[in-house]
């Protein structure tokens, strides 16, 4: 028998009230563990949404950067003239305009909303196909002159878009009320956006959505892939002149994949900091809860303290008993939090995989769990210092009176 036995026995006797105070520590640890377990996966998942395999491509969009369809909601959209001018720049090797528009897709008597994207004709088609490394997993890709035909993203083929039936080449789907024939399915791209897209030829798309000569985005391949910066600056200067805006008040963005990824990562970091702040507050509240519970415990067990002192317990032995018990209280809260947090992270990764289509391997980080448990014991013990000191200072005779 030692402090641990004593602590264990006392904890067994504690009521539900004492354990409710552990909720704070529990939630805090849960947040930290699930965040760390998910965090890496989340970054990978978001990173993969920039499905363009090339890291050299520059993307030009009107308006600010946003998470809707590219260029959507821009007051002053990009137009084909902008594209023509960009193509003329010396530092640009190739440039292609793309339109991505939200629309209604009907199949199997179900309606889903998704995004359609156009594939330009001629040389530009080859450029787009090479950039997205387009290969059909079934059927074929779109060719020049295809009308009333679409190629669908991989998720339509594995029934992940909500149509409750897989779509195969030869099926007919209704898009924005117009009938289309599915001629092919693209290979899995590992990107939520790409795998849900409907691809159609530029003419079909233009007549269906009637966006005139506006463009959602312009993809640019720089002439010198070691000097993407120069191309970016050239495009920015050009668009400023064409759209008559001053430096600092641009209504367009010219972004490189690295820059976009960095931006997303900074958002993820902000989320992480936010979660860590919430977790810290929870843990602080939990620690105060433990101080309170242990303080009550000292009063409730005053007589026990008196008995212990009468049979020879020194002040530091009384202190240790309450200190260790408090640590265990923290450990229980942290333990539950770690289990729930690991489960949340684990199934969160599986969830992201099936929802977004990424291939992250969910794993349980035992080292993390070990340090989290160590930490929660330490938090509990630290919270117990003050109550334990009070317990140790009880006068034997007064304590024995109870």
């Amino acid at each position: 028998m030692n402090y641990f036995t004593l602590a264990y026995r006392n904890l067994k006797k504690k009521g539900i009230r004492s354990y409710l105070t552990l909720l704070g520590i529990c939630i805090g640890i849960l947040a930290v563990v699930s965040l760390i377990t998910l965090g890496a996966g989340l970054k990978a998942a978001v990173g993969s949404q920039f499905g363009v395999s090339s890291t050299e491509l520059i993307t030009v969009q009107a308006g600010g950067n946003n998470f809707g369809a590219p260029g959507s909601g821009a007051v002053n959209p990009l137009i084909t003239k902008d594209l023509d001018e960009i193509k003329k720049l010396g530092s640009v090797k190739e440039a292609v305009g793309r339109n991505i528009v939200a629309g209604k897709i009907e199949f199997n008597k179900k309606v889903v909303f998704g995004y359609a994207s156009n594939i330009p004709d001629g040389a530009d088609r080859k450029f787009v196909y090479s950039q997205i490394e387009a290969k059909p997993v079934a059927g074929r890709l779109l060719k020049d002159g295809d009308t009333g035909k679409v190629v669908l993203g991989y998720n339509f083929y594995v029934d992940k878009v909500g149509l409750e039936k897989i779509v195969v080449p030869g099926n007919r789907v209704t898009i924005q009320g117009k009938d289309f024939e599915v001629v092919g399915i693209l290979e899995k791209q590992g990107s939520f956006i790409m795998d849900n897209l409907v691809f159609m030829n530029a003419n079909d798309m233009k007549s269906l959505f009637n966006y005139g000569d506006t463009l959602s985005l312009i993809a640019v391949l720089p002439a010198d892939k070691n000097n993407i910066q120069k191309t970016q600056t050239d495009i920015e200067n050009l668009l400023r002149r064409l759209r008559n805006v001053k430096v600092g008040s641009e209504d367009f963005t010219v972004s490189t994949p690295q820059a976009s990824l960095a931006q997303v990562n900074s958002i993820l970091n902000a989320i992480q900091i936010f979660v860590i702040i919430i977790a810290s507050i929870s843990i602080l509240v939990g620690a105060i809860g433990i101080i309170n519970t242990m303080g009550t415990s000292v009063i409730e067990r005053k007589k026990e303290i008196g008995i212990m002192k009468a049979i020879g317990a020194k002040n530091n032995q009384i202190f240790m008993q309450f200190f260790v018990e408090s640590g265990f209280l923290g450990l229980i809260g942290g333990g539950i939090g770690a289990i729930l947090g690991t489960a949340l992270g684990y199934f969160g990764v599986i969830g992201i995989n099936s929802f977004v289509g990424t291939d992250m391997v969910p794993h349980i980080d035992f080292l993390l769990i070990f340090f989290v448990l160590l930490g929660s014991f330490a938090i509990g013990a630290a919270a117990g210092i003050f109550p334990a000191m009070r317990a140790a200072k009880q006068h034997p005779v007064e304590a024995l009176r109870g």
């Binding site: 212990m308 009468a310 049979i311 020879g312 530091n316 034997p396 024995l400």
Partner: protein, 239 residues
Amino acid sequence: MEKKSDSDKIIIHLKNVAKYYHMGDTIVKAVDDVSIDIKKGDFVAVMGPSGSGKSTAMNLIGSLDMPTKGHIFLDNEDISTLDESELAQVRGKHIGFIFQQFNLIPTLTVKENVVLPMTLQGLSEDERSDKADNILHRLDLYERRDHYPNQISGGQQQRVAIARALANDPEVILADEPTGNLDTKTGLKVMDFLTELNKEGRTIVFVTHSPELAKKYAHTVYWLKDGKIEKVTRERNKR
């Protein structure tokens, strides 16, 4: 110094001891200028009505409390100068307490309650388990060793308390109204056991408000009234 025989050796000596309490503006003299000599191997009763200061005297004898004035010697050592941890050490090693309310730790089993004082003295796991088993056998509690205090009778609980008091083999056993919560028959059994311990050479001091009990068992009786010693009687025939 004159060499004394063992039975004449003073084990506890209270020298002009006083204990005052503040109750608001008034000072209560719970124990007032009391001197007591307890010889090694004696069987002492502290008698008195409630409020006579007998419990306070007991706490002072047992080094649970410090006197306001005067000195307390245990084995010729002045314990009124010791700090709290040293006092705890003295209690744990030299004194065994038995209370009216039994005062067992409810979350520990019978055996664990007996082991606890040895744990506090840092005895090894094996040593304390063996010692506890021996003591439990002696008090006929071995079969009950894994029970919790609320699972056994009052008489058994008081025997556990005695077993716990014996854990560190103390020279002095202090019992504060040890029969107060027991029926007469069980109470007499407890007193008989204390007599047995006294015959082994242990010094027994017990507090009671029953003159019969004091006269029947004690060799020396201190009669307390209003914090002072009224008289001391000795039952010589028992020595």
